[in-house]
């Protein structure tokens, strides 16, 4: 690995002199990528991005939950400090985490992490079980998991405060296909408080809707 790195660094400097020096100063990525830790889904490669272009958080099954300070810290840094313009939540078909959540097996500590996916299954049970067993249900749950992570992101005060101060910020949902390397845009995109459920909206005191 170290030899490969040395060769790569020399090649980059030859092809683009000053590249590293410029990059070392500061980062200005436009995109925050929230993806799965899965080795088959390397974020930079699959969308052909150079160093400096995408800020990345990767965990088991690209889950975002409100009590996970790891994801929230990344979100805060990306939105408040780096001021990224787009957040992409990228799941992938064949996700081991989602598939594990669909079983009745216990995996130890990771059961607690996967619980959230079981909750998503539970809330969408009728729609999921209306589909044929096997891949159709798995794929659908993988997509619902992406939608739930988007929902968690837009319901944070971090994102709502950004919108309130007029910061341009979209949140997108994608799914990557292992079998052919193609990214599928799920057509989920939220860019405004109006598009989220009322209970999650953050109001300033004077803006509260009137009580009856």
């Amino acid at each position: 690995m170290l030899e490969n790195n040395s060769r790569w660094a020399k090649k980059m400097e030859t092809e683009r002199p000053g590249f590293f020096h410029e990059l070392a100063r500061t980062q200005h990525p436009d995109v925050l990528w929230i993806g799965c830790a899965d080795s088959r889904v390397p974020s930079n490669s699959i969308v052909g991005l150079l160093p400096g272009e995408v800020f990345t958080h990767r965990n088991i099954a690209n889950v975002v939950s409100h009590t996970d300070l790891s994801a929230l810290s990344v979100l805060q840094y990306a939105v408040d400090v780096l001021k990224v313009k787009h957040i992409v939540v990228c799941g992938h078909y064949g996700c081991g985490g989602v598939l594990a959540a669909m079983t009745h097996n216990s995996y130890g500590l990771i059961d607690n992490w996967l619980r959230r996916i079981k909750d998503i299954y539970d809330h969408n049970r009728e729609k999921i079980e209306a589909l044929p067993e096997g891949k159709p249900r798995e794929d659908f749950l993988i997509e619902l998991n992406v939608a739930e992570s988007i929902s968690a992101i837009v319901n944070t005060t971090i994102v709502q405060k950004a919108w309130a101060r007029g910061q341009p910020l979209d949140v997108h949902g994608w799914c990557y296909r292992l079998e052919d390397g193609r990214v599928r845009d799920l057509g989920l995109c939220i860019s405004d408080t109006k598009e989220i459920h009322d209970i999650y909206k953050v109001f300033k005191q004077r803006d509260r809707p009137h009580d009856h």
Binding site: W8, L23, N59
Partner: protein, 200 residues
């Protein structure tokens, strides 16, 4: 919720198509065969920083080799379920033989931890950096250059994370059972593109 796709996002999707075509042109069966299950050799625990794209900095390692967890400043908190889940899955299920804890110089998270201004909830996340600064205060004070102090703190932070990985029960149990598992602490230099092995 239908929006026209912004050009920056469209660009990513079209780059994905180009990348996919280039992979298939080199190996037409790549996706249909090697992507069926994963058997990565490395678990990478690194920073979310956009300037450290894991696969690229090794000259383009193909998908399937590196299982990756990235957070702010590659910090390993003992009670972080996100990291522990990745670690457990990598060590117990995927039986990854090598863990690489990878920091980098010029880390914004370490810099924020060194400073005295508050960054809201990030303050809690970055606490370990402040603790390191305090433990090594005397040594750090002896270093005149702020830049050098920053570099050293990036290294100390990476070493602390590698240590914390070693102390988890996941890793301890793996070693006790004779599982083949190593931990390395590396620091990536953004200014040169080179990795420095901290000989953990």
């Amino acid at each position: 919720m239908a929006h026209p796709t912004p050009p920056e996002i469209d660009r990513l999707l079209s780059r994905n198509r180009e990348w996919q075509r280039s992979v298939v042109s080199r190996n037409k069966d790549f996706f249909s065969t090697s992507n069926q299950s994963q058997k990565p050799t490395y678990l990478w625990i690194g920073c979310a920083d956009s300037r450290v794209p894991v696969n690229e900095i090794f000259g383009g390692i193909p998908p399937g080799e590196i299982f990756v967890h990235r957070n702010i400043a590659n910090i390993v908190h003992a009670t972080d379920l996100s990291l522990l889940s990745v670690l457990t899955y990598a060590v117990e299920h995927l039986k990854v033989p090598h863990i690489i804890v990878a920091g980098h110089y010029n880390c914004g998270g370490v810099k924020a931890g060194m400073g005295s201004s508050s960054v809201d909830m990030l303050d809690n996340w970055l606490r370990p950096v402040k603790v390191l600064q305090s433990i090594h205060a005397r040594d750090l004070e002896g270093i005149e250059s702020t830049e050098d102090r920053f570099r050293i703190l990036c290294e100390l932070n990476t070493l602390a994370s590698a240590n914390n990985i070693a102390y988890t029960n996941v890793v301890q149990k793996a070693w006790a059972s004779g599982q083949n598992l190593t931990i390395r602490a590396w620091v990536y230099d953004l200014a040169t593109g080179l990795i420095r092995d901290l000989d953990f």
